[in-house]
Symmetry: C2
Subunit: 162 residues, 2 copies
């Protein structure tokens, strides 16, 4: 189980291959990201990037991150403050199953089934894991049928959790 991440050289290669120019800004950001020891937000990337490219601006950081993400070189993680959808909660710790079409959310318990998986990760990495967030995205039964129709009415799939 080797987690190989992209190196600075990969950024250059991939960018060129996709037909984009390698500029001082992009070099700086690639350098920052490929050498970062943990995730960085745009502001931190700007700050660090200016050590390589003093004229770097925040707007360019955003644009470059979008580009790198589209090229698959960088991935977003969901850092904690931020997002903004709400559902009434269930009584147990639950995960969310979100219908991509009608936005319905089904919450389901899953900690038990996930437990062996998490335990294995703990053993492999040495981390102690005390929280997890799992979101599944897909199509609910009704939306699978109606994918071609124009309506976006949500349907109740909670009944499927018999």
């Amino acid at each position: 189980m080797k987690t190989q991440t992209y190196t600075y050289a990969d950024f250059t290669t991939q960018l060129r291959k996709a037909g984009f120019r390698m500029t001082a800004s992009r070099k700086a950001i690639a350098r920052v990201l490929s050498s970062a020891e943990h995730w960085l937000n745009p502001d931190e990337i700007l700050l660090r990037g200016r050590e390589y490219c003093p004229s770097l601006g925040l707007v360019t950081v955003y644009r470059t991150l979008t580009l790198f993400t589209e090229l698959g070189l960088v991935s977003r993680i969901h850092a904690h403050p931020g997002c903004h959808g709400y559902v009434t909660a269930t009584l147990e710790h639950g995960h969310h199953l979100v219908c991509r079409r009608c936005q319905q959310v089904v919450e389901f318990p899953g900690s038990d089934a996930l437990a062996p998986f998490i335990k294995a990760i703990e053993e492999k990495t040495g981390f102690t894991i005390d929280d997890h967030m799992l979101e599944l995205h897909g199509l609910c039964p009704a939306c699978q049928v109606q994918t071609q129709s124009g309506t976006h009415e949500p349907h109740n799939a909670k009944e499927f959790l018999s």
Copy 2:
């Protein structure tokens, strides 16, 4: 496997129990959330809430959602556009293991181990699942040792993924 969510009556009860007042605004928001068929963002909650409480304002929606979340009545989901942490990506689809203390992210492959779990959910719910996001949060080995110390230096745990 029954996913029982809080009803409107629960909102009233829990609020009172925790020593908060039941106001027209909170009634409206509780009503909206407990009867919603899918997740709602603050704007949608405002719009729907005004049908029950015309004077309702967006600020109150935010404050009420925070309160309800703290009381465990409502849970946030991570809707897709938004968040904002970046790491260099791995070549396979990976999940993120985030150290809560030093913010280090270890990305690990896990689709295989998760596959039977997802298949079971598909069978139980009728959903077709085409994407998933799993984030594990905890402490990396170095931070477990150093929890009492003042330093927040990240350490490389990738080596643990032998």
